[in-house]
């Protein structure tokens, strides 16, 4: 539920009215509140924000790896409304291997953003039209932005031969 201080928030208050159980947590950051969304309702929330609250653009999607904590990943949606000059940040908490619904049907730009998250973090998106690697080669093993992926080193040892 929304805390009292956010009952008139331009982003959260309409969502809380239309989709009462969608916001599961709120965190106050230096640049405003951040909303944790129930992963099963992300498409509904995004559709609502785009169509009713005029968030015309999805500026980006990224993820944060909190390994070894559980649930492991946080997915971040950076939304931007030009007509209201307003930004919003939505977060999802997902476990390793858990599928997330794609928001490609809401904003077409999500296509590449979600491919990037899939490529670098290994988070699969359900119903994505073209879920392939985008930065790394198609036959790459592993997901480089995971915390258990090493920064240096070669896959093969060239000295032991």
């Amino acid at each position: 539920m929304l805390p009292e201080s956010l009952e008139n928030d331009v982003v959260a208050a309409p969502i809380a009215r239309a989709l009462p159980n969608a916001i599961i947590d709120v965190k106050q950051e230096v640049d405003g509140p951040v909303f944790y969304i129930d992963p099963t309702q992300i498409v509904a929330v995004c559709t609502y924000l785009k169509e009713q609250s005029n968030f015309e653009q999805l500026a980006g999607i990224t993820a944060v790896d909190w390994w070894p904590s559980v649930p492991r990943f946080e997915i971040v949606y950076l939304l931007h409304s030009y007509s209201q000059n307003q930004r919003a940040r939505l977060m999802l908490r997902v476990a390793e291997g858990e599928e997330v619904d794609t928001v490609c049907g809401v904003w077409r730009s999500a296509n590449w953003y979600e491919r990037e998250v899939f490529d670098l973090f290994g988070i699969p998106f359900r119903n994505h039209p073209n879920l392939e690697r985008i930065m790394m080669p198609a036959d790459w093993e592993g997901h480089p932005l995971r915390k258990d992926y090493p920064v240096h080193g070669h896959k093969y040892s060239y000295q032991d031969e």
């Binding site: 015309e56 980006g60 971040v76 950076l78 000059n85 940040r89």
Partner: protein
């Protein structure tokens, strides 16, 4: 049969082009609604892609049916590298993302970390940042103009643009010792004290740019070849552009009056007088006009910054973040201790997340930083304008002639380092 086709036929009797009877009228030009299709690989090493971009285009005659950009050739894992470094060591990495607007990247990263640290930046440092970022905007637009014109066939503009850009790079060298990878905007202020006599040099460059920009505008604006190649080309509906994540001059050329410098001012941009140019024609020519006008506005901002530069210090009063003066470090014990701690351990940033945007020459540049309270960032995400803009390439090229694709790509002004990170 043309001579080169005859040669292909003689070399490869099964060549599809050669066996087709060229006397048939539909052999030349587009044939809508059927016929043979061809898949063509543009890039990764193609001069018009300004970097290493591969575009797989499917052609029907000379008409593009679909274009699929493939990226990742310049992926260097910069976001991963941030995680193993201290915050201060991140600044040189930001230079290497968008290598034509290094200072804007420095600025965005510095602003984001300063927001987490709740640092107050002195006015002189802010005005210096504004001045240098606007010079950077002009230099980036000059590279765009030169290469874009070169793609379309106007060679001399390139030389003029590079000549003026050189003057701007000399200013950067004067300030930071580096022409391109300046790392001049640091967390907490600037890297070095501004050099003596900088104002005279900057004023001279601003004067030269002001006349130069008009000259290049006049070279191209009424040139019939330029107009034919750019007018009515490369348009996309505004709603679709927003949907596809396009930002910056492309949106402004489609009538969207949005500039982060005006809409959510940072670095005391609200104290400067400038306008945000917009056009409604929504084609390559409109983007040309918008960027040319942006350069004029940037020169205006640079002049205001030179004339009204506040007195005072050029770095924040925060000894736990900003390196001490060399002089103090060698004479005062406290400064030496701070210096040693900063260089060996870095500084801790309070836990939290922040998303900071600035208006880069290409559009919305954003840094999303996650701090876990240690001296290394837990995660740095760069929302780069070129990545969002390039995603619209497929939609933009659908149904246009292949010659127009070069003009459309040039008008997007993407930097592949910025796309692939």
């Amino acid at each position: 049969m043309r001579e080169d086709e005859a040669r292909v036929a003689s070399l490869d009797p099964e060549h599809e082009l050669a066996v087709e009877d060229p006397s048939r009228s539909e052999f030349i030009g587009a044939r809508p609604g059927g016929g043979r299709r061809m898949t063509l690989n543009m890039g990764p090493q193609h001069p018009s892609t300004h970097g290493v971009l591969r575009v797989v285009v499917e052609l029907d005659g000379e008409t593009i049916i679909s274009a699929r950009p493939e990226i990742g050739f310049l992926h260097t894992g910069i976001e991963k590298q941030f995680e193993g470094r201290k915050y201060a060591q991140g600044t040189p990495l930001t230079d290497r993302v968008d290598y034509l607007s290094n200072l804007n990247n420095n600025l965005c990263f510095a602003l984001a970390v300063e927001k987490l640290l709740k640092l107050e930046i002195p006015p002189k440092a802010q005005w210096m940042r504004v001045m240098l970022c606007e010079l950077q905007r002009v230099s980036s637009h000059l590279v765009w103009l030169g290469t874009h014109a070169l793609d379309i066939g106007a060679m001399s503009v390139y030389f003029y643009c590079m000549r003026e850009r050189e003057e701007i790079l000399k200013i950067f060298e004067l300030f930071s010792g580096q022409r391109m990878m300046t790392s001049y905007i640091r967390i907490g202020g600037l890297a070095l004290e501004p050099p003596r006599g900088w104002d005279r040099r900057v004023r001279a460059v601003a004067d030269r740019l002001a006349s130069g920009i008009d000259e290049y505008y006049n070279l191209l604006a009424n040139n019939p070849i330029w107009c034919n190649r750019t007018k009515g080309v490369g348009g996309l509906p505004l709603e679709l552009m927003l949907d596809l994540g396009v930002t910056g001059p492309l949106l402004r050329a489609a009538g969207m009056n949005y500039d982060a410098r005006k809409a959510c001012p940072h670095t005391s941009y609200e104290k400067f007088e400038f306008s945000v140019p917009t056009r409604t024609a929504n084609d390559v020519y409109a983007r040309f006009e918008v960027r040319m006008e942006e350069m004029r506005q940037s020169v205006k901002i640079v002049r205001q910054a030179v004339e009204g530069m506040p007195e005072g210090t050029w770095k924040a009063d925060a000894p736990h973040v900003v390196l001490p003066d060399r002089e103090k470090m060698k004479t005062q014990m406290e400064s030496l201790i701070y210096h040693f701690k900063l260089v060996t351990e870095g500084f801790r940033v309070p836990a939290g997340t922040v998303y900071q945007t600035v208006e880069s020459p290409r559009g919305e540049l954003g840094y999303y930083i996650v701090s876990d309270g240690t001296a290394n960032p837990h995660r740095v995400y760069m929302r780069t304008p070129s990545f969002g803009n390039l995603q619209s390439l497929g939609a933009m090229l659908e149904g246009v002639l292949i010659a127009d694709s070069i003009a459309s790509m040039g008008s997007m002004d993407f930097v592949l380092g910025d796309v692939d990170r």
